[in-house]
């Protein structure tokens, strides 16, 4: 059976996904390194090696994400917005609204029942309220990125932050720490500020059921809970991993493009 691969080189994470027969054969999540071409190869090998596959086994490869133009073995590259919509809708057919919380940007997307984007908005001018921002805050508080979500959930009184600027929030957090404010309250305040920022982005598209969050931050339980509180909608998270939405979407696109080239209508 033909194999199709999607490679999503993000600003912080590099994701790969291989599908066969419409099913996920393998996926991989790693860090984006400074050399895009090297990152692309290591992402592909991370995805393909465990299942004994090589580049020559791939029928069609689609690259997406910031680093998509520097994936040497890709047949084509497609914007991350279309790929995220395709991937999320492929896993969760009832999804209409997608919030992608990535390493350095945030996107709100409306998608129809065919997986086609109907509205999108992206904020990548500033890293405030993104994954990178949470990493900076986590290091200030001496926690790992995995710990901050659960810690934020233990807060009893959130500290109100007026800024999601990474530079200002970092110094404000440091000042609060020196005053003895509990880490949980600082984190709850920051999560709240980020959720408000994302909610404002979502207001520019239609907030419709079902709603899903993709990207690295979707694994942060504190953030998912905050988004639910802001929107009054329970986010449905995709399986097996919400971070691979873009890579999976790229793989699904690869299959559609190949079928179209064979003269068959996409199924």
């Amino acid at each position: 059976m033909p194999y199709f691969a999607g490679i999503d080189i993000g600003s912080r994470g590099a994701k790969g996904c291989i599908i066969e027969d419409g099913k996920i054969v393998s996926y991989f999540i790693g860090d984006t390194g400074p050399e895009s071409v090297k990152t692309a190869w290591y992402t592909f090998e991370g995805t393909a090696k465990p299942v004994g596959l090589e580049v020559k086994d791939m029928t069609y490869v689609v690259a997406t994400g910031y680093g998509r133009v520097l994936v040497p073995f890709a047949n084509e590259n497609i914007s991350e917005i279309s790929c995220h919509a395709k991937g999320a809708q492929y896993c969760l057919p009832s999804v209409r609204t997608i919030l992608d919380m990535g390493g350095q940007d945030c996107k709100a997307i409306n998608v129809n029942e065919k997986g086609v984007v109907t509205k999108f908005i992206m904020n990548d001018k500033c890293a405030g309220g993104t994954g990178r921002f949470l990493e900076v805050i986590a290091s200030v508080l001496g926690l790992t990125i995995e710990q901050i979500g659960p810690v934020a959930l233990t807060s009893t009184e959130k500290f109100p932050f007026n800024t999601v600027c990474a530079v200002f929030a970092k110094s404000e957090a440091l000042t609060l720490l020196k005053k003895g404010t509990p880490k949980a309250d600082i984190l709850a305040g920051l999560h709240d500020a980020i959720a408000t920022r994302c909610h404002n982005l979502l207001k520019r598209v239609n907030i419709e059921k079902d709603f899903t969050i993709t990207g690295g931050i979707s694994k942060n339980t504190g953030m998912v809970a905050k988004m639910k509180e802001k929107l009054g909608l329970e986010p449905v998270l995709m399986e097996p991993d919400p971070q691979i939405a873009g890579a999976l979407g790229a793989a699904v696109f690869a299959r559609e493009r190949w079928l179209a080239k064979q003269g068959q209508p996409p199924q």
Partner: protein, 101 residues
């Protein structure tokens, strides 16, 4: 697809909104824009449509003064020359247009 290109910063919302269902890729906006904000390229579904160039997206409010302040005359700015009415700005004159919808 309603494509929003731009950002929100401390001074306001700066998005150029392109309705790709209406856009017919006539390239009139490319011709009239004094700051070369637009390009026409195939989208992910293969349709040729106008989009805001990647280099412009993160500095759109510095490059484009909005339709009211545009160096092109009011009759020859991108919004006016677009026959299908596919282009809108969220700042300047177009704010009213966005709200009407």
């Amino acid at each position: 697809m309603l494509a929003n290109y731009g950002y929100v910063d401390g001074t306001g919302d700066y998005f150029i909104v392109i309705d790709t269902d209406k856009c017919d890729a006539c390239e009139e906006c490319l011709r009239v824009c004094p700051e070369r904000v637009f390009e026409v390229a195939p989208d992910a579904y293969g349709k040729r449509v106008a989009r805001v160039r990647d280099e412009v997206v993160t500095k759109v409010s510095y490059v484009c003064p909005g339709p009211r302040g545009c160096y092109a005359s009011i009759d020859t700015n991108c919004q006016r020359v677009c026959q299908p009415g596919a282009i809108a700005h969220t700042w300047g004159v177009a704010a009213a247009v966005v709200e009407e919808e």
